[in-house]
């Protein structure tokens, strides 16, 4: 027996497959009693990819053959099983053939899919087969079609195959009595409509009738109905034109409205129903045929009186779901959607809250009202889903209807009270805000803020534990908050422990209900978006309150939570997950409130920072990951990088003339003329990155960052060993000329060194930090311009060793005399040349070397920026 190298060896696979066939598959003529093993077979085939027949490049032909024959044998066995008399064996074979369709090699699939299809197709058609066989064959054929649909060149073939299937599938839907079979047929129909929609074209009407009758019959479970609703929504794809989409949408809306007339009788003004219908079918236009054909409608109206409210409501919900699907799925052409009627349905449903009209009171039994009230919340939930889908469907065409949508959202805010509805409503609001930005912020900010105060305010919660609500009782209790904090961190350990005990006790007390936590999370998310996307144009009114609220919520949640999380191992997992989510949402919102720009420095910056710092230490949690990002974001506020527009330009500017160094050789001839004069002060343009230039704090710390800029920026310039002065040609000032001899000395002195450095610096461009000394030598050969006079002089005084003081001073004097920017630039060159030279010549002088190490840190930044 030959042994394989390891479990990944290709040789192993045919053997494993054969073993499986021999030991784990049922025999075709034996009744099988080994279902457990079958699941194992599937998982083994998947993990080892036993059917994939994928080989590494170099492999013996023998192994290929062996595997091939093993798979052949597997397929053979499938066929035998399918042909078996015993339905047990038959469905096993069918399911495993479906698995084969997913797992097998592409070539094998292409070669044999038509044979497999015929085999499976025969199973669907036999009327007497057991349910299992029918369901299994529906699903296996669906898998076959999915695989077929994903391969590029067999679309046409797939379409013909799918076309053959439509009628048998519809027959199953219409005639079979078992729901399991309907589900299988529905699944197959979905697949056909998704991948080969055109094949249903010929049977469009019968398909619509079959689906609609099942959907409205109320005989199926919710999942089945959802699947059917999905099928119905995909149906227009089979024609793919504008009309069929619009017609179906119109039919559905009409049906919904007519049904609503029945259900809402006595709950709303009677005119509403007829208004809605007339809006859908403008006067003078033909009423479309009812959904699913005439017979169906008659049947339905007959039954309507006898049917329960539950059934009617559920069929309405399902049709709403179908609308949602139609509005959000792919469609090949643009369509005219009845947006106003859609929104009108949304409005109509939300306006009914179960209260009976005064006029209708005598005619309404309390039972009737109860049954409607029982089902209303679910209907409202689907209704919100419809609103969301309509918004998504309108996409960028929302504008003419935006005002209507805003009004609907506001109505919902007033009328939705159950947690589920509020969560959904907040998610609708959130997507609106993200989508429409500032404009929507203006419209909705007020309502969002008011409602979030209702939902987030813990005072209303009876079950809220007391220790956590101390800080929240009054929204203006910041001082209290801080004193609380002090006490906790103070030396009075007793009080700390006391408090610890207290919270420990509180944990045992009933927590907030999970659904309420979810509402809070949804609210926090909306507030976060409101703060980050667009808080509206005049946000001062509510901003301070919201900031305070978010801050107290975050501190509160985390104080509780971290203590809680430690104990959490003993408790069940579920509420802890939501609590952690709540913490995360609170922290997210807090960060948004801290970094969202306002006129004043964020009030709770320090406390917030502390909170995030603590959160960061909770290693391995989502909270710690987020806190890390939060700290990074807040750091920019603590050390402001970009200067606000309103402030006058401050003290020092960190400039260096990169412009001159980077004269490209191939510029337009006339380009050169104006680039020099303009060199003063555009340094900040470099990539527009505020971080490396505007950071005056950084400049202060580093001392003088200038000289280091040049060397790394322009290594290519140095290779041609041109004297730096020549680069500036005509623009050199007399003063520079006077210094030329010194400079040339410098150049010569450094030349050898220079060449070496150039090579190195090119090799290590990214890591040029490593070369402090060459960098300073560069400073000598390649002058750096600084044009900010005051600043630079100051820096130079600090940076340059004593013996160059005189020169610097004189340079400064000279510069001070010059008044036009042009000459300043030239002067700048000279100035720094002096300085650079000094540092180079005093290589043995410790101070000169010491004064520069920091400077080199500047380089990677500027370097990257330029190469990018």
């Amino acid at each position: 027996m030959e042994h394989c190298t390891n479990m990944h060896d290709v040789k192993l696979k045919p053997r494993l497959l054969r073993n499986l066939i021999r030991e784990s598959l049922p025999d075709e003529d034996q009744p099988c009693r080994l279902p457990r093993k079958l699941s194992h077979v599937i998982s083994v085939v998947r993990t080892h990819k036993l059917l994939s027949e994928s080989f590494p490049q170099a492999i013996e032909k023998k192994v290929v053959e062996r595997w091939k024959s093993a798979v052949d044998e597997w397929v053979d066995r499938m066929f035998k099983l399918i042909s078996s008399d015993m339905s047990d064996n038959c469905w096993t074979g069918i399911c495993l053939l479906g698995l084969t369709c997913q797992e097998c090699n592409v070539d094998r699939f292409l070669a044999s899919y038509s044979v497999w299809f015929i085999k499976l197709y025969s199973c669907i058609q036999q009327p007497t087969e057991s349910q299992f066989v029918k369901v299994a064959s529906c699903n296996s054929i669906s898998d076959l079609l999915i695989r077929l649909g994903r391969l590029p060149n067999v679309k046409k073939d797939g379409s013909t195959l799918a076309g053959k299937l439509v009628q048998p599938v519809l027959k199953l839907l219409n005639e079979d009595s078992s729901e399991v079979v309907w589900e299988g047929a529905g699944h197959l129909l979905c697949t056909i409509l998704t991948f080969f929609p055109a094949s249903v074209h010929r049977y469009y009407d019968s398909a619509e009738a079959a689906i609609a009758s099942k959907l409205l019959s109320g005989k199926c479970c919710v999942n089945m109905m959802k699947k059917l609703a999905y099928c119905l929504a995909l149906l227009p794809n089979s024609k793919g034109d504008e009309d069929s989409w619009c017609l179906l949408m119109q039919k559905i809306l009409l049906y919904i409205n007519v049904r609503l007339n029945d259900i809402f009788e006595g709950f709303e003004e009677e005119t509403k129903g007829s208004e809605a219908v007339s809006e859908l079918v403008p006067p003078g236009k033909e009423t479309p045929p009812p959904l699913g054909g005439h017979t169906l409608l008659e049947e339905a109206t007959d039954k309507a009186t006898r049917r329960s409210v539950l059934l009617q409501m559920s069929s309405i919900s399902m049709l709403i779901l179908c609308c949602c699907k139609m509005l959000t799925s792919l469609y090949p052409v643009k369509v005219t959607a009845p947006i106003h009627p859609l929104l009108a349905v949304v409005e109509r449903i939300i306006m009914v809250d179960g209260s009976v009209l005064r006029a209708a009171v005598p005619f309404m039994t309390s039972k009737q009202q109860e049954s409607v009230c029982l089902e209303l919340p679910d209907l409202h939930l689907y209704n919100l889903e419809l609103l969301k889908a309509t918004i998504a469907g309108m996409h960028s065409q929302l504008l003419p209807h935006a005002a209507y949508v805003v009004r609907l959202v506001k109505t919902h805010f007033k009328r939705c009270s159950s947690p589920k509805l509020r969560i959904k409503l907040y998610s609708v609001t959130k997507s609106l805000l993200i989508f429409m930005g500032v404009g929507m912020g203006i419209c909705l900010a007020q309502d969002i803020v008011e409602n979030s105060f209702i939902d987030l305010n813990p005072v209303g919660d009876g079950s809220r534990c007391t220790s956590s609500s101390i800080n929240l009782k009054s929204p203006s209790s910041v001082p209290m908050q801080t004193s609380h904090r002090k006490r906790k961190h103070g030396s009075t350990t007793i009080s700390f422990e006391e408090q610890h005990e207290k919270t420990g006790l509180e944990v045992e007390a009933p927590e907030i209900h999970p659904s309420q936590i979810s509402v809070k999370i949804a609210t926090l998310e909306v507030l976060e978006v409101l703060l980050s996307v667009g808080g509206g144009l005049r946000f001062e009114a509510w901003r301070l309150d919201v900031d305070l609220l978010l801050f107290t919520l975050a501190t509160d949640s985390c104080k509780d939570g971290w203590a809680y999380e430690e104990n959490s191992a003993f408790l069940s997992n579920e509420p802890i997950i939501t609590w952690a989510d709540y913490q995360l949402a609170a922290l997210h919102a807090l960060l948004a409130s801290l970094i969202s720009p306002s006129r004043v420095r964020p009030l709770y910056l320090a406390q917030g920072f502390e909170l995030f710092r603590k959160g960061q230490q909770e290693a391995g949690t989502k909270v710690s990951g987020f806190c890390k990002n939060a700290i990074l974001a807040l750091e920019a506020i603590i050390h402001p990088r970009a200067l606000p527009l309103e402030q006058p330009p401050s003290i020092i500017r960190n400039c260096s003339d990169k412009v001159n160094h980077r004269f490209p050789e191939n510029v337009y001839s006339f380009g050169q003329k104006q680039s020099n004069p303009s060199s003063s002060g555009i340094q900040e343009l470099e990539g527009g990155d505020p971080y490396s230039y505007d950071d005056d704090l950084y400049v202060k710390w580093v001392g003088n960052g200038n000289p280091s800029e040049a060397p790394i920026n322009s290594p290519t310039k140095n290779t041609d060993s041109v004297k730096p002065s020549e680069i500036f040609g005509a623009h050199r000032t007399e003063m520079v000329a006077a210094d030329r001899s010194k400079q040339e000395q410098a150049g010569k002195g450094m030349r050898n060194n220079d060449v070496e450095f150039v090579i190195e610096s090119q090799q290590f461009r990214g890591s040029s930090v490593l070369f402090p000394e060459p960098a300073s030598s560069k400073g000598a050969t390649d002058p750096v311009i600084t044009d900010d006079l005051d600043g630079t002089n100051m820096e130079i005084d600090r940076a340059v060793p004593d013996d160059t003081d005189d020169e610097t001073a004189s340079a400064a004097d000279f510069l001070a005399d010059k008044c036009d920017g042009f000459a300043n630039a030239g002067g700048g060159h000279a100035l720094v040349t002096e300085k650079g030279k000094a540092t180079v010549f005093d290589v043995d002088d410790d101070t000169s070397v010491d004064s520069f190490p920091d400077i080199v840190d500047v380089d990677p930044d500027s370097d990257e920026e330029e190469s990018s």
Binding site: P31, P35, R36, I42, M86, C95, G98, L99, Q102, S130, Q131, V135, A136, N139, D143, G149, V180, F195, E279, P282, L330, V333, K334, V335, A337, P338, I339, H340, P341, S396, Q397, L399, A402, A403, V406, G437, V438, G439, C443, V533, G534, G535, L537, F539, R599, L643, L645, E646, S650, V659, V667, G671, S678, S680, G681, I682, E684, L685, G687, Y693
Partner: protein, 449 residues
């Protein structure tokens, strides 16, 4: 990565048409004919087509707006709004177009249907420039009377609110003393900045969130065009003296610049007045159009010109940087194959002249559902799942189907057993017969014996 930016430029002279170049290679693409665009009057509607409002004779009573599809040089759709339209711009996805009229009215059209959704009186004198905010929800307009106004389009479209409110605008910024020549808005939602340029030789930087003036920059000459550096470090201001000034935003500026406070530097090429500017983020290039008919492309880092295009004799007055539409692969301008023709030539109907008072028309909306075909639908394979489910059912022995199968199995066993019984019977019969025979034989023998 393939560079995708195209430059589109138009001028006030109809003969020059609309020029179109590949920014990377510099190759000129198709030239769209006969376009005498107004300043700020050229727009590319959602990458789908090019549209421009046309300069009209002073005596003309109606405006003129032309559409060009990407693949045809002739204007394909002509619309005639009720008055000459000056600035003309579409939102970023190309669903709405706004135009500013001579009378100070602003028109808002829906592109897909050509419907005039809203027309409102925005300014006392002609509207000179219009710009959408980065999220397309706000519109900022500038006028000849020096007024800059910020509109929330949701509020403007809301008939109910607009009747109640005393004014429609969110802000009216009135610091400019002369005609507003250009407006740009930065990134960042409500925290964005607005920069406006005016004939009073100033550019003003405003905060959108407060409607407050943040910075006033006085230039040596009138600024006709401004464009923001993508990172909003500086902005570029094209002036009538031919300079493009670079003014500081978040960049620090010295107070002692030779040009004036906050002006850092300038780009100059002895050109005539700079009339329009654009910025290509992809190439990090600044584009300027000039009265001398040239389009210059600058590298803002070196302040050098990297390329020049000759547009025509007349002054260039609009430049756009547009991403090349997907269906226009390189070279597809000339030999348009089927799919590009289908994509490129389907233009929406012309813009309507008047607001449609018919209520029903406003109730429908033409929507474009996504049609992406490249992403395969995500439908899970199901057969193994079904198998698992059935196995579970069989094990539970609970379902009718499982029972059915169990019955079947029992029947089969029964049949087998019956068969067996038959066989046993037969065998017994045989044996019996044999025994009887043997016995009888023995008997016979005995009898014989």
């Amino acid at each position: 990565m393939e560079k995708m930016d195209l430059i589109i430029a138009s001028s006030s002279i109809a003969e020059a048409g609309v020029g179109c170049w590949d920014l990377d290679s510099g190759a000129e693409q198709l030239r769209y004919k006969s376009c005498a665009s107004t300043p700020h009057g050229l727009t590319c509607v959602g990458q789908r087509f090019i549209a421009s409002s046309q300069l009209r004779e002073p005596s003309a009573t109606s405006g003129s707006v032309l559409y060009w599809s990407w693949i045809k040089p002739q204007a394909a759709v002509k619309s005639f709004p009720s008055e000459p339209i000056k600035p003309f711009v579409s939102n970023s996805v190309g669903t709405y177009i706004v135009g500013g009229g001579q009378s100070g009215d602003i028109y808002l059209w829906e592109v897909e249907t050509g419907r005039l959704i809203k027309k409102w009186h925005a300014h006392y004198r002609a509207v000179t420039c219009l710009v959408f905010s980065s999220d397309d929800s706000l519109l900022i307009s500038g006028s000849e009377d020096g007024c800059v106004r910020v509109w929330s389009l949701i509020t403007v479209c809301d008939d109910y609110e607009s009747q109640r409110a005393s004014h429609l605008y969110e802000y009216s910024l009135t610091e400019h003393t002369l005609c507003v020549t250009d407006i740009v808005i930065g990134q960042g939602g409500y925290n964005a900045i607005i920069i406006s340029a005016s004939e009073d030789r100033t550019c003003k930087v405003w905060s959108l969130s407060h409607g407050r003036l943040l910075r006033n920059i006085v230039f040596p000459s009138v600024i006709d065009a401004i464009v923001l550096d993508p990172a909003e470090h500086v902005f570029y201001a094209g002036s009538r003296d031919g300079n493009i000034y670079i003014a500081a935003l978040s960049a620090e500026s010295s107070s002692s610049s030779s040009y004036g406070k906050h002006i850092l530097s300038s780009l100059y090429d002895h050109s005539k007045a700079v009339t329009c500017l654009a910025y290509s983020i992809e190439g990090n290039l600044l584009l300027s159009g000039s009265e001398d008919g040239m389009v210059r492309i600058w590298d803002p880092r070196t302040l050098n010109i990297v390329r020049m295009f000759k547009h025509g004799k007349g002054p260039v007055n609009n430049i756009l940087v547009v991403r090349r539409p997907n269906f226009l692969t390189l070279g597809a301008f000339s030999n348009s194959h089927g799919s590009s023709r289908r994509h490129g030539s389907l233009l929406p109907p012309p813009l309507e002249k008047y607001v449609n008072m018919d209520k029903d028309a406003n109730k429908m909306g033409v929507i474009r559902l996504p049609t992406a075909c490249n992403i395969l639908p995500n439908v899970p394979f199901n057969s193994s799942h079904i198998l698992d489910e059935h196995v579970k059912l069989v094990e539970q022995q609970g379902s009718s189907a499982a029972n059915e199968m169990e019955v079947e199995r029992l029947k089969l066993e029964n049949r087998k057993a019956m068969h067996m019984v038959q066989q046993w019977k037969k065998m017994y019969g045989n044996l019996h017969e044999f025994c009887v025979n043997e016995f009888l034989k023995g008997d016979d023998k005995g009898n014989i014996d």
